[in-house]
């Protein structure tokens, strides 16, 4: 089966303070994903390798790593697409504290999600009638464009502003805030605008677009952030909120 030349894989082991890349030879298969490679190493060569995944089909957002310098969802990244002459370098996601090996601490990412006003602001109770939402409404279409986020943090790892400013909320959290701002059922408009216009909010974005270039789901956080900037400007000039 494995007629193909094997892969030369370097995988980050340890923590940033005490760690290094370790080299492994991994058999090459057809349709092999980067996550397959990591799992093969863990199952056959080094059972202590720490990494995360769950769904293996691009739904859960837990398997993101840095592959040859680029943040990617590893379960849906084919080796054939990213290996350079049979070489793969797999490291933990950038812009996160590393727990060990390929597992990073995602807490700052989700804390910022909440900080950006990303928790739904309910205005109705179970006793109220179900809100009717027109799928063709403009705001609904805008929200729909951003809601397929799987929290993989690939955009967050790709963002140079996150790297330079630890307080920056980052593309995913701001994208979430933008979808809520356009959700007719959310009643927290003022709270969201307040949350995204403070220090490290949408105005910290430098519009370099690495988030949109790397989001595996084809979302465009850059455009969502531009939307937040427009909404903030409109509310500042008193043209509605």
């Amino acid at each position: 089966m494995s007629e193909l030349p094997s892969l030369h894989v370097r995988v980050w082991r340890g923590t940033p303070e005490a760690g290094d890349y370790a080299a492994y030879e991994v058999p090459r298969y057809e349709s092999q994903t980067v996550l397959d490679v990591v799992s093969w190493i863990q199952q056959h060569l080094d059972g202590a390798l720490a990494y995360r995944y769950a769904c293996r089909v691009g739904m859960c957002g837990s398997c993101a790593m840095t592959v040859n310098g680029v943040p990617r969802w590893t379960c849906r990244t084919h080796v054939g697409k990213v290996a350079e002459d049979g070489n793969l370098e797999i490291g933990p996601l950038a812009n996160f504290p590393v727990i060990r090996d390929l597992a990073v601490d995602m807490d700052p990412f989700f804390e910022k999600w909440v900080k950006a006003g990303g928790v739904f602001h309910a205005g109705a109770t179970r006793d109220d009638p179900v809100a009717e939402i027109d799928p063709a409404a403009e705001t609904r279409q805008i929200a729909d464009a951003g809601i397929e986020c799987i929290n993989c943090a690939v955009c967050y790892a790709a963002c140079d502003t996150v790297a330079g400013n630890p307080d920056y909320l980052g593309p995913a959290a701001l994208n979430r805030a933008w979808t809520l701002l356009n959700d007719a059922k959310d009643t927290g408009r003022a709270a969201i605008l307040e949350a995204v216009t403070g220090d490290g909010g949408c105005h910290s974005c430098h519009t370099m677009g690495s988030c949109a270039a790397h989001c595996p789901n084809g979302l465009n956080p850059l455009e969502s952030i531009a939307g937040l900037k427009r909404a903030a400007a409109r509310s500042f000039f008193g043209k509605g909120s």
Binding site: V70, D160, T207, M208, S210, A226
Partner: protein, 113 residues
């Protein structure tokens, strides 16, 4: 070496805008110094202007006009990006802004030589 996660058109547009802005900031004091030499009499300005006649200065001038054009169109692109909700055309706009910059500065260069 540009790190792999930065190799996409919008990042290049971003860095071009930054670098051209910085370079212009460095150039402007020299520009004002030259204009200011008018105060010391026409001779001082003429001496400065004569210097701009040599080829090296011409090439430098081309660079400056190029930077100005890059920064101008880069700025227009940014404002369009942030204030008009028509985003998927960003990449095209980034490319177009550079193309226009080349055109304008190229025109200047041809006229100068």
């Amino acid at each position: 070496m540009i790190r792999p996660h930065r190799r996409h058109p919008l990042w290049f547009a971003f860095i071009l805008h930054r670098v051209s802005g910085l370079a212009l900031a460095l150039f402007l004091p020299a520009h004002f110094l030259m204009l200011g030499s008018v105060l010391e009499g026409a001779a001082a300005l003429d001496a400065g202007l004569a210097w701009t006649d040599n080829l090296l200065a011409k090439i430098a001038e081309f660079g400056l006009v190029f930077l100005l054009a890059v920064h101008l169109f880069g700025g227009l692109r940014l404002m369009a990006l942030e204030f008009l909700p028509w985003s998927p055309a960003q990449k095209t706009m980034a490319a177009a802004s550079v193309a226009l910059a080349v055109l304008v500065s190229g025109g200047f260069f041809l006229q100068a030589v």
